[in-house]
Symmetry: C2
Subunit: 190 residues, 2 copies
Amino acid sequence: MPREIAERRDAIPALGEVFREHGFSGSSLAEISQHTGLGKGSLYHFFPGGKTEMAEAVLDDVTNWFEENVFSTMLDSKHPEGVIRSMFEAVNCYFRSGERTCLVGAFALNDTRDRFGDRISKYFNAWTDALTSALKRTGFSEKNAAETAEDIIVSIQGALVLARSKQDAEVFIRTLKRLQRRIATEPHGV
Amino acid sequence: MPREIAERRDAIPALGEVFREHGFSGSSLAEISQHTGLGKGSLYHFFPGGKTEMAEAVLDDVTNWFEENVFSTMLDSKHPEGVIRSMFEAVNCYFRSGERTCLVGAFALNDTRDRFGDRISKYFNAWTDALTSALKRTGFSEKNAAETAEDIIVSIQGALVLARSKQDAEVFIRTLKRLQRRIATEPHGV
DNA sequence: GTCTATAAAGCGATAGAC
DNA sequence: GTCTATCGCTTTATAGAC
């Protein structure tokens, strides 16, 4: 049986939890060390760039997860309706029905964005492009697909903010349902 | 001519800027001292509770601003349509058309929420209640008013996240326009 | 690859002179 | 009310033994 943390990538999930809970500047190496079970020596061995490199690795991991599990199928599937439904399922699962926050969105709201701006842009641009592509293939006009994709991603992010603000995950669940209802009934043209 | 910072409340705007830019744990007393022009001695004279009391004062100030300039008229005005339009104008002005983030929302996304949970809840509950009240008086059914109010606040918060993530304030401007269009054309019943 | 020790700087907060 | 000096602690990061 392999050790729990034998290589760099094994530490990523725990790192993500720490950054999600405390933010970037609120995450100390002591907390990171405790939560990953790795001493400072090991942490700097795996991440010579220190905390910054750890956060970069987490952001890359988040984006890769979405690329592989969500975005890729949205860009080329023959069944865009099913793919969009799958996106909502994946989003609901990933964010634990509103109990979990979006690390990328949280990093964007203060000067942490200055450190990781390229990765933050990349995540949201990839999501926007993939969803726009899928919407177009369900019959949305070019312009309406782009606007609806933006609307959906905006609402998901806002629902995460409001759900955590009010300590009411139902806000998130209601929002996802509302969005799905809307794209099912809305006129798809301009 | 009075001095720029002669009493506690004069420091609040600068404090707000620092917390908005760096987050709570990322804001050091050195930075706060520099940006407010107050030495540590003065800061602790005005805010004996230290950084926590400073952030509480800023959150209270934000909520008071919204109470006085936005929420109060929404709760009792005879002209709810105009009041809702005014809300969007005030929101657009306050958040500088998407260039400024929401301090309350940003605090909510990590463990900073644990320190200020009551104030964060209060802000969003007051906003939700005021907007729901105004929507009901424009003819929305009880249930639809509550859901639409939640939708609008969710979208505003999400637009702030996405605008800053993509460094594109147009996301925010487009979202406000879209929301106003929607409440003007949507059926108001259940 | 993991540990301990340690450096050097920064942190929040306090004390006391003025 | 504002200042400087300082306390005690934590921070990130490195060095070197194992």
